[in-house]
Amino acid sequence: MNWIIIENNEKINLSQIPEITIERLREDYKELKHRVIGFFGKNENENIRLYVILADDNEGKLYISSVLFRDNEKSYDSLTKDFPAFHNFEREFYEEFGIEPLNHPWLKPLRQNQDKYSFFEMKGEDVHEVAVGPIHAGVIEPGHFRFMCQGEKVYELEIMLGYQHRGVEELLTKSKANNRLAESVCGDTVIGHNTAYSQVIETLCGTSITDKAQIIRRIALELERIAIHIGDMGAIAGDMAYLPGASIFGVTRTLVINTMLEISGSRFGRGLIDIGGVNFDIKEEISDKIIKMLTEVEKTVDKMTKVMLKKPSCLSRMERTGTVTKEQAQAIGAVGMAARSSGVMIDSRIDFKDKFYKLENLRFSALGDVYSRFYLRYLEIKQSVEAVKDLLKILKEHNNEDLKVEIGDLTPNSFAISITEGWRGEIVHCAITDENGKISRYKIKDPSFNNWYMLSLAVRNNGISDFPLCNKSFNLSYCGNDL
């Protein structure tokens, strides 16, 4: 057995994880055709063990294995050159453990000390370089972008992040329960990350929480998706300087997050989820309020989207701007909403058969341009509105259950993984405990980690002035990537 196959939210003993060689991994990856969702190292005495997690989206299974690097092994033959999806994973592994993937096409650290490395450069008389950041003109997070352009046309964009690196993973190993920190992994995906975190710890503790808590978590998750998608549609309109779009979507988003405030006391749902369950109930009256609010929101979004998609000036900005083809998206291992907009239909809610959802993959013509991402958001909002209404209905049947259960101790020497479909895409949290039952390694993979490279691909051969629009259409997270 080269791989151990488990489900989402399942715990295994560390000894159950097989050990393979890098060459075996290369072969298997080619053969199995599964997606890589985890590739991270951990110190094991003097040696370093590399854990690899692949996802089988058709069956909803996870394949786990490991590669051991002994003390004297300081390099291996890179996987990225064969499979671009490993690109950032290998850079991260190299940065954290110093084991060099040989022949990696662009080996630079991912988060720290990057200024010592040079940028990708193009030679040519007409080629000029435009550098922006780390501080941007808008109220957004820091990141550095380096464009190689000819006139207004972009040939290549290199994205350098890491400015938001604040050691979240390390901090998470320090305590058993720190939901507030998990919420701050990425402040626009509060519920997503907190759910994934809580699930991992609950799995490691062997606790199963009540259905009621599960449902409330999912309602919050969908509300978050609705809110952020609406906000993003407004931001896209704002980038095109289409004022009514920006203001109406903005106002509509406020309705959603204020409902969140009514549920949890925070506009982003902070403090709602804790390990062991949730802290706030959704009572009958709030449930009615949510339904009323959603109906109104859906109406407004419908109306506004229709108007916008009729405007020639809007359409001409969005159509065929920032295109990423399905092949490209698949090759680089894109995930989530952005991947779906390019026609790669992966959605962990559906693929991993979450029993609380009755969802189906959306059908629409995915072209991978800004328009597709805009339109997909619109469709997902509608889908989520239905989902919330469904969930609220099931919630009634679980009225008498507890909100929170007691949690036990962490099982020693174990490995657990949890995948949650946040609004941006799959959020993967892995945790490994040591023999004392303490977390010794915590690993987070935000969807942005995979998708930043998509943005680079998207702006190629586009006008540089379309970059902000492309960027907004992905709305990737800097802090989720930098951790």
């Binding site: 003109a137 095109m240 009514p244 379309d466």
Partner: protein
């Protein structure tokens, strides 16, 4: 003399009010309360109280440019017909001086942007330069036609159009207004050409060129930009005010037109998305075409029959 003083006051004060009105209009459409129409004054006063910061990479050009830009705009303003239809200085072919003095100021804003050595300021400068080259001929064609039509070579000829436009009067006026209005949007850096409210350095045109200016310098540049936009509105206004009106009527009429135009600009901004950079050129060419149409009509009107 009295009107000249009034005109001077209008020239210095109304541009900020006009910007205020545009902002208010936009706020109205967005469902906001919006800033007071006097906000541009407050901003200006605040900037006047601030120091200027210069980066180490800039040369003296960068430091004197704001003054040159501002004074060139004021100088150009002297040739533009104001409320009474008379410019401060009325000489033959004033519009040529007008255009080139503005061009002189623009040249300085371009080199001061390049002087900062920042790559996107250079990008903004190249965009701006590109637009100006297309705007300029159209302006001359339009103004030349007016001169041909009215047989007056001063800039005060605009007011004669109303009464003296021959066969295709309404059409010519309409086309001239369109030409000047598009020019106003370009020179004033408004949507759909540029977005004055944007926060995206890569899409800006005018804004990106002044990213490095601060304090008093910035105050002068924003004031200058407001006046420049006002000048184009003034041109449209003088087109619409017939000659020979007493100043008691023409001044309120002039102000009325200015503010109505401001509302129109605000409304355009609220209802349109900004064009993609490549489409902006098509938009600018529209203006050249209308200018050419004016010329055709005028020539036809004069020589056709």
């Amino acid at each position: 003399m009295k009107t000249a003083v009034i005109n001077l006051i209008i020239l210095l004060i109304v541009p900020f009010l006009m910007i205020g009105v545009i902002k208010k209009t936009k706020a109205f459409w967005a469902g906001r309360k919006g800033v007071s129409v006097f906000q541009p004054f407050y901003d200006f006063i605040r900037l006047m109280k601030k120091e200027a910061v210069y980066s180490e990479t800039t040369s003296p050009v960068f430091q004197i440019a704001p003054v040159i830009i501002f004074s060139s705009i004021i100088f150009a303003a002297l040739f533009v017909p104001m409320s009474t239809g008379e410019p401060f200085i009325n000489i033959p072919f004033g519009f040529i001086i007008f255009s080139y003095v503005l061009g002189f100021g623009k040249f300085f804003s371009l080199i001061s942007a390049l002087d900062t050595g920042s790559s996107f300021e250079g990008m903004g400068a190249s965009r701006e330069a590109c637009f100006s080259t297309i705007v300029e001929p159209a302006f001359f064609i339009a103004m030349g036609s007016v001169a041909a039509l009215t047989k007056i070579d001063g800039f005060d000829n605009l007011k004669m159009i109303m009464g003296n436009s021959g066969t295709y009067g309404v059409l010519i006026i309409a086309l001239l207004i369109i030409t000047l209005f598009i020019m106003l949007l370009i020179e004033g850096c408004r949507v759909p050409v540029d977005d004055p409210a944007t926060h995206l350095e890569l899409t800006m045109i005018h804004e990106v060129m002044i990213l490095d200016n601060s304090g008093v310098d910035l105050g002068l540049i924003t004031w200058g930009a407001a006046i420049k936009m006002f000048l184009f509105e003034a041109l449209i206004a003088s087109l619409l005010i017939p000659a020979g009106l007493p100043s008691l009527i023409s001044i309120p009429l002039f102000l009325g037109i200015i503010f109505i135009l401001a509302v129109v600009v605000g409304t355009v901004e609220s209802t349109m998305a900004r064009f993609r950079m490549t489409h902006v050129f098509e938009f600018i060419f529209t203006m050249s075409i209308t200018a050419l149409l004016v010329l055709t009509l005028v020539t036809y009107g004069i020589y056709g029959n």
